[in-house]
Symmetry: C2
């Protein structure tokens, strides 16, 4: 019996696993799995190229449940098709502490969860990055090794979020024809009918950005299948608006927002069982249906084996390189290239903006690491993110290594997450530090998922000058340091910039932000050391001439001020040491012994950073002296701004001597 | 001679004031003013209803320069039409510290600057809020007092940002026919031609969201005028795509991204002078041209006088109410309504989630204050933002007081900024606290502009339970506290919630965030006090039985834990006081004496908050005990999560006793 004849029963298996799991958890969203079960069944039984027994097969199709609140749909699919991580026991533990079946799909909890979703629109934008990565890897490794689709199931919520526009426009522009979005067009959101808040013709909107668009009945399996076939044949990214009924099958709640975000209740579920002819008990899938599902799970096994044979048959160079990149290991020559470069910098002592030092470091990095893919949200010349190796990535040339993301910080960050998730690529992208606010939800997800994504954030303080307070980050260093598992770096010169880049690249457990200056800075690391001192997070840059009375902590552009202040303090007889703090997160990872030694026991502690105080109390204490910002910046020449806001060596001297005077 | 005959010379006055100011500052963006001068000249000489000598006339048309980097365009217009704040001296001081002519238009620096722009897309989204406010005020006060247009000049950057989609979709849905967007369609961004990064048909995109769309030659004054007339006549919001040439007039840089963001240089400006026939020296506008501009500035003076006559003739009740609302003063009965409500709560001692307490407070507030306009980004039932008074605001009923913003946190926040800027309205809107990330750029602008916008942010910790780490704020309290001039409140019970609402409403100098729980909390303020204790930011909720050995600071849902910990500590013989800290910002505003007293001198300081430690070091010092989160949350029942992450009274007891043991 062909699978399609059993379509309805197979889809019902998803529906009741989902409704019963939500019911048992007494928490969750039954609406999406109930209505999207038909779409998902068609996709997983007829199209999706994957192998549940080899879930990490690099050339599998990616499926992204952008509407992450419908997580049970994904868990049901993974269980039914035979992914071993998701057992029926896990489904019974839906939304319980310690289970793999969290409230929203969490990347890393189980194979088959391709990305963490829940914050709306992110999955769709991740998928754009995955589809970009597929083309990038295809351009490098050819059709034999790379050629897959990226499918997305997105809801109204995803499409109403602004990030969706950035993602849609980028995908349309790049003609990502292997990206197929299934729009669960159910006409309902939490507050009620979509007509309460939206009148957008989504199909017309996608068409305006160069997409191939179709509409179909989301409960007609063959219609869905025909639409996916047409989407695959198109030379544009595709959107299929699948008209669905929320809470499909639920006798009284179907078509109402009441079927969205809370359990249906025993009576409603019983009614749905009757209406849909489903006799099985909760968490039981009749064996004939489960067999059909498991058989469907084996659909691509042959294809996977053929792919493995092709990989085995590829040239050693290609195979080794492909496998290295997919493992996320850096190439052999990288470490020595950076070491040589650092040696050169210590000798040359360049006076450069750290954004320029970053570009120079990237010249070395991009030559040594072919998998870096750079870009900027329309600030290429300001972020200094493009190097000689990175020709544009475009619909005409997927071999390019530089993405002109347009003025789309959020879409850029989410696409970088998608590229990192896909594997084989190390994405980095730039904007102004102040605009980390525009992509903060995606930065948070980089951190939550532990992805190696590198944010190149220039113009990192009032030092950018005339653009004024809207463009001057003041609270951003502090605010970024609050995000768990994010490494924030603010290097002080060319050597520190190179070291921070190295740390970011070698760190496979989370994202990094590099905060870089617009203005020139002197070289402060003028003697070569092999060790990556920035790796300690904080280290002594200048010792005191005697037992230190003052310790000055500073970062980035304020190291210059710290060194000048030290000179004045020493001249006035106050032995002073200077500690550079390129990364508070790295510092927090050091031993207690190291940290205690580095904080030292000078009676006066000072911190200088052209941002707010909040993160510095941990180092200097509430009684420490902070020289920095306490409010928004202003428009003017940067030297005048530093003087205006009192971030100067003289201000440090004065504050310290006042304190000494008080103590005396 | 009719003004239009002089159109070209009047437009050139804008062009050369702008190019020369950028040149003198050696910083800034000449491109936009050069190319958009024709559009701006048509708007300001033929359409804009304003009176430079009465710049705060409530019924003036609003003009928003969403492409804020083109600030010189606005400054030139304000100078030319006769706004006294912007003198030629100010224009000569363009981008200098202390001038009114900052790098980007800064609200409050000079009359005629309707909003702060620069972060792209924000101005467009503010304008949607202004246009909503206009309709809301019109529904209340009638055509005699309220009836104006909101004009926006937006560039490619604004339209590529995701926030623009949220704004466009909202405006289209609400049929804001008095909103007219002039799209400066110049085909160039910083990185080069738009074709590098975008292929979107912007006209089709706006049409998909229900807009009236036209195209015109952005250098043909009459064509622009005809398009604006047609836009005014439309019953939808209008977008006019004005085809322009970047750096119009600049002989070699026209049409290139080189004309965007840096001074043209003396030679290029000389060439432009020649090409456009402009003989005047820098910062000199020929007197006949200046006269024409000043005359144009008087165009609406008669209309303003007539409006004033109508206001004077209106009934006393209407006039008084209109003037009160435009002054931003709360109505007389509010204070006593809140006082009565607090008294009732102290007696009833309700055990409620603070989101529910917020709803109850809003019932009182919305009854007493007719100018509140509520809403939610599709989480009405979760944020508890709708009360009995607030019927839906829709295209069919602009008298409604509740906005279904859809899943558009960013668009909501920016629209609220626009409403607050317009005047006559106090906007509040809700989403989950974690999604402050989605609207953070607009929250920052609320703070930078000092606007009374109230963010109702529920589900404020792991206490939300099963939705898991994507929905659980961990770093958000800390991250919001980093934003200058933003007041962050986390009330502990119904009384504190009412007090925080009162503070937010009475605060005309900046925005407030209310962080509210999903889970129920006991009443902790069980005795009525007239004074608003939350106004102190921190206050002693429970005294110690003797000289305090321990002080516990806590907020919101963790007050319950603090009180339970105090009991255990007291039982074990450790006198313990509990300080509630509903607002760190308010606390920082108190006298040093108050702050010192409140921090106290107990040898052990503890802070409890289900978020990260960063902001707490200021109160407890690096040696203080912090009981809270150090990483992301998890999906599970909230009681289990609190136990799992060790945020319990027992954990506090244990940590304190270990410390006492160490010290002994």
């Amino acid at each position: 019996m062909p699978v399609s004849d059993n379509h309805a029963r197979m889809a019902n298996a998803i529906r009741f696993l989902s409704a019963d799991a939500v019911e048992k958890a007494n928490s969750g969203h039954p609406g999406l799995p109930m209505r999207a079960a038909d779409i998902a069944t068609v996709l997983y039984t007829r199209f999706l190229k994957h192998d549940p027994h080899h879930p990490h097969w690099p050339d599998r199709d990616r499926f992204v449940l952008s509407a992450g609140h419908g997580s049970m749909l994904l868990y049901a699919l993974l269980y039914l098709t035979g992914y071993e991580d998701i057992t029926i026991g896990e489904i019974e533990k839906f939304r319980q502490l310690g289970s793999k079946t969290a409230g929203h799909p969490e990347y890393g909890h189980a194979a088959g969860i391709e990305t963490t979703t829940g914050p709306l629109g992110q999955g769709l934008a991740n998928a754009v990055g995955m589809a970009m990565a597929e083309r990038i890897m295809n351009a490098r490794f050819g059709d034999d090794l790379v050629g897959h689709y990226t499918y997305v199931l997105a809801g109204d919520g995803c499409l109403m979020e602004g990030i969706s526009q950035e993602a849609i426009a980028l995908a349309g522009h790049l003609k990502l024809s292997r990206l197929i979005v299934l729009f669960d067009d159910n006409g309902i959101s939490i507050d009620g009918p979509i007509s309460l808040s939206d009148s957008t013709d989504q199909c017309a909107r996608f068409e305006a950005s160069g997409w191939h668009v179709q509409r179909c009945d989301g409960h007609d399996a063959d219609a869905i299948a025909r639409a996916i076939e047409a989407a695959q044949a198109s030379d544009k990214p595709s959107m299929i608006a699948c008209k669905t009924t929320i809470g499909f099958g639920a006798p009284t709640r179907a078509g109402s927002s009441k079927a969205h975000g809370s359990p249906l209740g025993a009576e409603e579920i019983a009614g749905a069982r009757k209406a849909l002819g489903w006799d099985a008990k909760p968490f039981v899938v009749p064996s004939d249906i489960l067999d059909l599902w498991r058989l469907a799970g084996l659909r691509s096994a042959k294809e996977r084996k053929e792919w493995e044979a092709r990989l085995a048959a590829a040239s050693g160079e290609i195979r080794t390189e492909f496998e290295r990149r997919m493992r996320g290991e850096l190439p052999g020559g990288f470490e020595s290239a950076i070491a040589d470069y650092k040696k050169k910098l210590a000798a040359e002592k360049p006076k450069l903006a750290t954004r320029k030092s970053s570009e120079n470091a990237l010249e070395v990095i991009n030559a040594a690491i072919p998998e870096t893919i750079g870009g900027s949200a329309d600030l290429t010349g300001s972020n200094n993110t493009k190097t000689s190796q990175t020709t544009p990535f475009s619909a005409d040339d997927y071999a390019g290594r530089y993405v002109y993301y347009g003025i789309r910080e959020h879409g850029m960050a989410a696409a970088m997450n998608g590229m990192a998730l896909h594997g084989g690529i190390i994405p980095y992208g730039g904007t102004f530090l102040v605009f980390t606010d525009y992509c903060r939800p995606s930065i948070r997800l980089s951190a939550l998922m532990g992805l190696r994504v590198i944010y190149v954030m220039t113009h990192d303080s009032i030092g950018l000058g005339e653009d004024g307070p809207t463009h001057q980050p003041v609270e951003h260093m502090a605010a970024l340091r609050t995000i768990p598992n994010l490494r924030v770096y603010r290097p002080a010169d060319a050597v520190e910039t190179a070291e921070c880049w190295q740390l970011a690249l070698e760190d496979t457990t989370g994202p990094s932000v590099l905060a870089l200056t617009r203005q020139n800075l002197p070289a402060v690391r003028t003697e070569h050391v092999e060790e990556n001192l920035c790796g300690f997070g904080a280290y002594e840059l200048e010792t005191a001439s005697d037992d230190a009375v003052v310790t000055i902590f500073a970062t980035g552009s304020e190291i210059e001020i710290a060194l000048a202040a030290r000179k004045k303090l020493e001249a006035n007889g106050h032995p002073t040491r200077v500690v550079s703090v390129p990364s508070m997160e790295r510092f927090a990872m050091q031993t207690r012994q190291y940290r205690t030694a580095m904080i030292g026991n000078a009676p006066i502690r000072v911190a200088i950073e052209a941002g707010i105080r909040q993160p510095w109390d941990a180092l200097i204490g509430p009684d420490g002296i902070f020289v920095g910002m306490s409010g928004f910046g202003a428009s003017g020449k940067y030297e005048e701004l530093y003087a205006h806001f009192g971030i100067t060596a003289d201000a440090v001297l004065k504050a310290v001597e006042e304190r000494l005077h008080e103590a005396a």
